[in-house]
Symmetry: C2
Subunit: 334 residues, 2 copies
């Protein structure tokens, strides 16, 4: 293994000079830097990560905790993860993968052993057991998602309330007067998943503001549940012409159910969804939707973390504005 002293000898300088040439933490003459860089290339020098971490107390590694639980859309998680890795690499950092399973212990372990400099936690619950730990840890962290009490933490996420509003406003703008939200399974609300509740709030608020008649309907996964909800809507809200779906696996079955009941989409019913673009795009009728900007959120989380590691103050809450993509599933009210 070639080490910094080898490079130093080869370039005719001291090890500290090599270090400074590499880090830029002190001025080094152009000529010396050239020589050092040439030696590094020639010898194929690679600084030893462990030694570096020990001396600098910086590992240049971030921890990423990914969720495993049911009900979360795996491809989106993957997009997050990939964008986090990509963004981290831009800042010369690597990413250590932790599973939710390990819980708080995993976080504490990688933080306490100085394996990582900072942490990103996905899928935060409203009353997440890891929150006290994250507050107490001596390393910076960023949450993807918002807990009930985000004070003292740094959080980033799509602005789900605004997403809910945006869908309603889009429908209202098309002249729809009676709208319904088909939401996540009941247990998601019970569990206290913040974003689901925030969608409901945004949906309801916007409907009230726009003077629409609105209702909210949690829905299990699967075609059977979709059919039940469709029947219920048809029966109890016959004037319904606008539907917002916040429940990926149910989107297609729900549209199928409507059609099976003689309601054409978008002819009789305009449908908009909050879901990944791929889900919206590949449905039988491409669905007007607000996408989860996974890549943006991931990159944003890394940027926040880097700023914190740099000692900068960052906002506690970062809400990404939703963007609505109009597709074939929404039309003006007949």
């Amino acid at each position: 293994m070639v080490k910094i002293t080898d490079v130093a000898r080869h370039a005719g300088v001291s090890p500290s000079t090599v270090s400074y040439a590499l880090s830029g933490k002190r001025p080094i003459s152009e000529e010396t830097r050239q020589r050092v860089e040439a030696s590094i290339r020639e010898l194929g020098y690679r600084p030893h990560a462990g030694a570096r971490a020990l001396a600098s107390s910086r590992s240049n590694v971030l921890a990423l905790v990914v969720p495993l639980r049911a009900g979360i859309h795996v491809p989106v998680v993957m997009q997050f993860a990939v964008s986090v890795v990509t963004a981290a690499r831009r800042h010369d950092h690597d990413v250590l993968l932790l599973t939710q399973e390990e819980g708080g212990d995993g976080l504490r372990r990688v933080a306490d052993t100085a394996l990582v400099d900072a942490l990103i936690v996905m899928d935060v619950q409203l009353h997440d057991g890891r929150l006290p730990l994250l507050r107490a840890l001596d390393r910076p962290s960023v949450l993807i998602g918002f807990p009930a009490e985000p004070a003292g933490l740094t959080c980033i996420d799509l602005d789900f309330a605004a997403a809910g509003e945006l869908c309603v406003e889009h429908l209202a703008g098309l002249g729809h007067r009676v709208v319904a939200l088909v939401g996540s399974p009941p247990e998601v609300y019970v569990r206290g998943t913040g974003f689901a509740q925030r969608v409901v709030r945004g949906f309801t608020a916007a409907a009230d503001r726009c003077g629409l008649s609105s209702s909210v309907h949690p829905c299990e996964a699967g075609p059977a549940a979709a059919r039940r909800v469709a029947e219920l809507l048809l029966r109890e809200r016959p004037a319904l012409t606008g539907v917002v779906v916040h429940n990926e696996p149910v989107l297609e079955p729900l549209i199928d159910a409507f059609e099976a009941m003689g309601l054409r989409v978008p002819g009789d019913l305009s449908v908009t969804a909050i879901c990944p673009d791929e889900v919206a795009g590949r449905a039988r009728v491409p669905v007007t939707s607000v996408a989860i900007p996974a890549a943006e959120v991931g990159a944003g989380a890394v940027d926040l973390l880097m700023r914190k590691l740099g000692g900068a103050a960052v906002p506690e809450a970062t809400l990404l504005s939703p963007r609505l993509t109009v597709r074939a599933s929404t039309v003006p009210r007949p």
Copy 2:
């Protein structure tokens, strides 16, 4: 930060004794170990990962390279990743996440900087550009998937040839005499994805062996392509009664297409697939299938790596036996 010398002082022993008590690399009296452990607990000692890595030249971190490319089923990748992390934790190791995007450079970087002790590479192509690098690296690695020339490497995967055979044998056992394989998109074969070709080999070999009439049909993703293949099969192989599908996204559309053309599954046509259980299970007709044992493969890869790190010799090729789950889509030939 509490360090090993603090523990040593607190327990009234030398730092080396603490180290040995922790690692077990030298005998330590029961009584001393007790005392050391008590001190560790009391002080909340956590060994510094970087220092440990530097002194022992072992980071206890594995690299995992995940693919990003189109055409691979994301949930399966995630299952791999999670099972790798879980298995690694059982061996007191952590997992560093790398994306395919970084290519060979990423592998070289984490290996050369001693950030990781060993590497797991997913989605290996038949003529993968990273193979020479992996062979040259001074750290052990395990490939998930088989390249054309696996000599000198350690590989693990589902035995796709056997999976193809198993599907055929299942159909043959039910009395079917004319079978077809609906495979991956043509580019997958062109790209040289080993497992796709191995399925074809197994399928053809078993059909020949069983005296069946067989044919192979690559197929693009999407319902349109599925319909085309269905029509082609109906037209050119009217006696067809058994189909093997090795193409997740096409499975459902294909069945839909058959039904739309008046062919009932399994009444007229028995269908079996090589795909994740969730895909097979959630289809309109639950499909008899051979699953990708992602968790097994991931855990197996980690085990191989640990053995290699321990200095043991391991087989170059590990093929996991396919298991066929019979569901509603296959019945005896009428």
